[in-house]
């Protein structure tokens, strides 16, 4: 006997203006099942989930919940019916405490009707402890890394009593250890007969957690497969609809590597005694778990994190103790953050986002729109932003494509040193390769690249040398000549 599905979507279609984002997609979910959804950037995964969770109610097709046709009018409506969503971009309130975020909108009350703070702190503390996170739940959430913020969001949805949990790229910001804990957590939830929809670009991860896997391509369903009937390579070919060329441009040898960037004894509250050197024509990987302080080192190199001491020398030129981002840009530093939301103007057109850092170079006073578009267009093509319309607002792109725009802006006027945090976060298999290929080409052209990441795969794929950071300190430095693997890196943390 087959149980009835918790929910079923039949022939769902959804348009955004002229763009057909979903077309006749069918999807179902059984109690206690983990159903993964995979596909390229812009395939329509998030859109489908927004329909599922009541964000969009103007679509065609049928939505059947517990055997009844349903129309969810709002996320609150969906939540009341037991459907909780963890968005690709977090929706926590960073100024509130950890515990308040866990109980957002559902604070426990005392018999007198006031908020029961001690209960709230106790439960939040316990639950986070169960997940293996020992943090002070009274502190504001913004004190913690993106990884922890994500965990809190996951916890909030779980505690709201959701039967169906939608996780849109929940692990894109987590460190490998945190990912392991999340996967453990998912198996606990499965035992509690909760259903999970899991979106991820990490196919190994998908193969580990999913019972079934649905592949979307260009807004249409390609297939739904049982986990045991497929493999990572098979999934890749279904996702892309073609064979993937997974090789990066080969690394050319540079005769004598001149020192491009030299950092000596850089100190702040988040890191200490950082010494590192990036040569011209070299990719240095800076690897660490979320919270290791490596992202703050990257910010410091761009003048966006205050340091207490140390020296930064770029191309023989010593930076002042305090400098602005525009100073860094002028000296040839580019910086792409790990957080899209922080670095993009979502309501503005692509081309404006791309030219923003370079407006001073494009025109002293009046930027010419045609010239801006001419500059932005090839950059968008190089990273393959889809759809490639430079006048489109960034906010209308899929998550992965937004990330591509954040990278594209630095290709237009190549910097001497490209500092990039989590360059491939949220990108599909094909796009990951494209972006890593761009970094590799940068290197081959004699520029310096500093890749800052908590994803071992990313660092291992492109870096010539890897520096490992833990708790704000450099703990080791390795040459990467194909002799390292993921476990070797993680052991050194």
């Amino acid at each position: 006997m087959t149980p009835t599905p918790v929910l079923e979507l039949k022939n769902i279609s959804k348009r955004f203006g002229g763009l057909q984002a979903l077309k006749n997609v069918t999807f179902d979910l059984y109690p206690g099942e983990t159903h993964a959804l995979v596909g390229e950037n812009g395939a329509g995964k998030s859109t489908l989930m927004r329909i599922l969770s009541g964000v969009y109610s103007d679509y065609e097709g049928e939505y059947i919940l517990d055997g009844e046709p349903t129309l969810l009018r709002s996320p609150a409506d969906a939540q009341a019916r037991g459907i909780g969503m963890i968005h690709q971009e977090l929706s926590v309130l960073p100024e509130l405490s950890v515990a308040e975020n866990v109980f957002l909108g559902r604070q426990p009350l005392t018999p007198w009707g006031s908020i029961d703070w001690s209960k709230m702190y106790r439960i939040a503390d316990e639950e986070l402890g169960h997940l293996g996170f020992e943090i002070n739940v009274k502190r504001p959430l913004e004190d913690y890394s993106l990884g922890i913020q994500q965990v809190v969001e996951v916890l909030r949805v779980i505690l709201s009593g959701a039967r169906v949990l939608i996780m849109d790229e929940p692990t894109s910001a987590l460190s490998p250890a945190e990912v392991e804990r999340l996967i453990e957590l998912i198996s606990t939830l499965r035992q509690q007969q909760r259903s999970i929809i899991y979106i991820s670009h990490f196919l190994e991860e998908v193969m580990r957690v999913a019972d079934r896997i649905t592949v979307l391509r260009d807004g249409q369903k390609v297939d739904t497969l049982k986990q045991e009937d497929t493999s990572v390579d098979h999934l890749i070919s279904l996702i892309l609809g073609r064979e993937v060329n997974a090789t990066l441009p080969s690394a050319t040898e540079h005769e004598d590597k001149q020192t491009l960037l030299e950092v000596r004894d850089l100190c702040s509250d988040a890191f200490n005694h950082i010494d590192l050197v990036v040569g011209a024509g070299e990719v240095l990987g800076l690897y660490g778990a979320v919270g290791a302080g490596h992202f703050d080192v990257a910010r410091a190199l761009f003048g966006m994190y205050r340091v207490d001491g140390g020296v930064i020398i770029l191309d023989g030129h010593e930076f002042p103790q305090r400098f602005s981002a525009s100073y860094a840009i002028k000296r040839g530093v580019a910086y792409a953050t790990e957080s899209r939301r922080k670095s993009l103007m979502l309501e503005e057109a692509n081309y404006r986002n791309i030219t923003l850092p370079h407006l001073g170079r494009i025109a002293r006073i009046v930027p010419n729109r045609k010239r801006e578009v001419d500059i932005a267009e090839p950059a968008m093509q190089m990273v393959n932003v889809q759809p490639p319309d430079p006048h489109n607002a960034v906010g209308k792109l899929s998550g992965g494509n937004q990330q591509k725009v954040a990278i594209a802006r630095w290709i237009t006027f190549p910097p001497k040193l490209f500092v990039v945090s989590e360059p491939t976060r949220g990108m599909d298999v094909g796009a990951k390769n494209e972006v890593l290929g761009i970094l590799r080409n940068f290197r081959n052209d004699g520029f310096g690249v500093l890749v800052v990441s908590s994803e071992p795969e990313t660092v291992l794929a492109v870096a010539d040398r890897i520096i490992i950071m833990s708790r704000g300190q450099i703990v080791s430095e390795l040459e990467n000549q194909g002799n390292l693997d993921k476990d070797a890196l993680m052991r050194l943390l």
């Binding site: 279609s13 348009r15 203006g17 002229g18 763009l19 057909q20 077309k23 006749n24 927004r50 964000v55 065609e60 709002s74 996320p75 968005h87 929706s91 260009d218 807004g219 249409q220 761009f302 966006m304 602005s324 981002a325 525009s326 860094a328 840009i329 910086y335 953050t337 922080k342 670095s343 993009l344 103007m345 979502l346 309501e347 503005e348 404006r352 923003l356 850092p357 407006l359 001073g360 025109a363 002293r364 006073i365 009046v366 930027p367 759809p387 802006r409």
Partner: protein
């Protein structure tokens, strides 16, 4: 919508239907519809409203407000606010008149010094907001006390009746033989310059970006502190211009702050569609906001049946109503529900 048959699988890109496009355009023009509706109403309800002399009156009445609104648009676009503009108007008027009448300094010095002083106070607003991180709401509130306090102190609380020719020219002069007033021309020029700056220059772009997403602007190398300071300085300067014009219109410098200037200026700018949260709006919107405001105030004066004591109340109700219409019509409230 009908399903399409297609030979090649893949994404169909279909142009939105013409009705959709028109609907979208109609929504974007909500302030225009509000203005036309008000205009139509008053021209039916009053026979004096549509006379050229009265239309010119509307322009004269909103000119002071337009100068305030020009600078305020910059400030709101960066996501800040300036509550000191009404006090600045009074301050500038008193300073100019005091220098001219009591200290007998010849023009153009009183005018220039008064304008410079207002600009300087704008700079203080900017520095307090950015370098000392006092929210602009509080910093400019304090500045409002400082400016009005200075005005009272300098004038010793007395109205200064003697004003210079320069002030009189600004406030009540006419351009040649036409009926057009100098202050209308000053206001229109300020709006035009601001429009060009915001729309076409690099600085204008930075103003929008600072308000839309401050951290993104910083990450792109924009010095958002300087942009915010510049916006508050511009606002101080235009408030100064408004002060000069106002003294000229009244023919004397009064030490009391006319609080309705502040409410009206913010009301007009926001009514036009510039967001209080920054990054959205512009001078075109402000112009519509100003005209709606002007039409409303003037129109009520032109209907003799209305109890003069009820005018303020009616203005408030219509203002709230117009705001609701604007927000609902432009679809801002319902679009994004994430």
């Amino acid at each position: 919508m009908t399903t399409q048959t297609e030979a090649v699988p893949g994404r169909t890109t279909q142009a939105p239907s013409t009705t959709e496009i028109w609907l979208r355009r109609a929504r974007a023009l909500a302030p225009l519809w509000t203005l036309l509706a008000l205009g139509l109403f008053f021209s039916l309800a009053s026979d004096t409203f549509l006379r050229p002399i009265n239309l010119n009156n509307i322009l004269v009445q909103v000119s002071t407000l337009a100068l305030l609104g020009t600078g305020l648009t910059f400030v709101l676009l960066t996501g800040e606010i300036d509550l000191s503009i009404a006090a600045m108007v009074t301050f500038v008027g008193v300073v100019a008149a005091h220098l001219f009448a009591n200290l007998e300094i010849p023009e153009p010095w009183p005018t220039l010094i008064a304008l410079g002083a207002a600009t300087l106070l704008g700079l203080v607003n900017g520095i307090a907001t950015t370098k000392f991180r006092i929210p602009s709401f509080m910093a400019t509130l304090a500045m409002s006390l400082i400016a009005s306090g200075l005005a009272i102190w300098i004038s010793q609380g007395r109205i200064i009746f003697e004003i210079s020719e320069v002030s009189r020219f600004f406030g009540s002069g006419r351009v040649g033989d036409t009926g057009i007033r100098v202050l209308t021309v000053v206001a229109a020029s300020a709006l035009l310059v601001a429009f060009l700056v915001l729309r076409y220059t690099r600085f204008g772009r930075y103003v929008y970006m600072t308000g839309a997403n401050k951290s993104a602007a910083r990450l792109a190398g924009v010095n958002t502190d300087n942009i915010t300071i510049a916006a508050l300085v511009i606002c101080g300067f235009t408030a100064g211009l408004a002060g000069l014009v106002n003294v000229g219109r009244l023919g004397s410098a009064q030490p009391q702050v006319i609080n309705s200037f502040l409410i009206d200026a913010i009301g007009a700018v926001v009514l036009g569609g510039t967001a209080l949260t920054g990054g959205r709006g512009g001078i075109i919107q402000t112009v519509f906001g100003l005209l709606i405001y002007g039409t409303l105030r003037n129109g009520l004066d032109n209907i003799p049946q209305i109890d003069p004591f009820a005018k303020e109340f009616i203005t408030g109700v219509v203002l709230l109503f117009a705001l609701v219409v604007n927000v609902v019509f432009s679809g801002r409230s319902s679009r994004d529900r994430t």
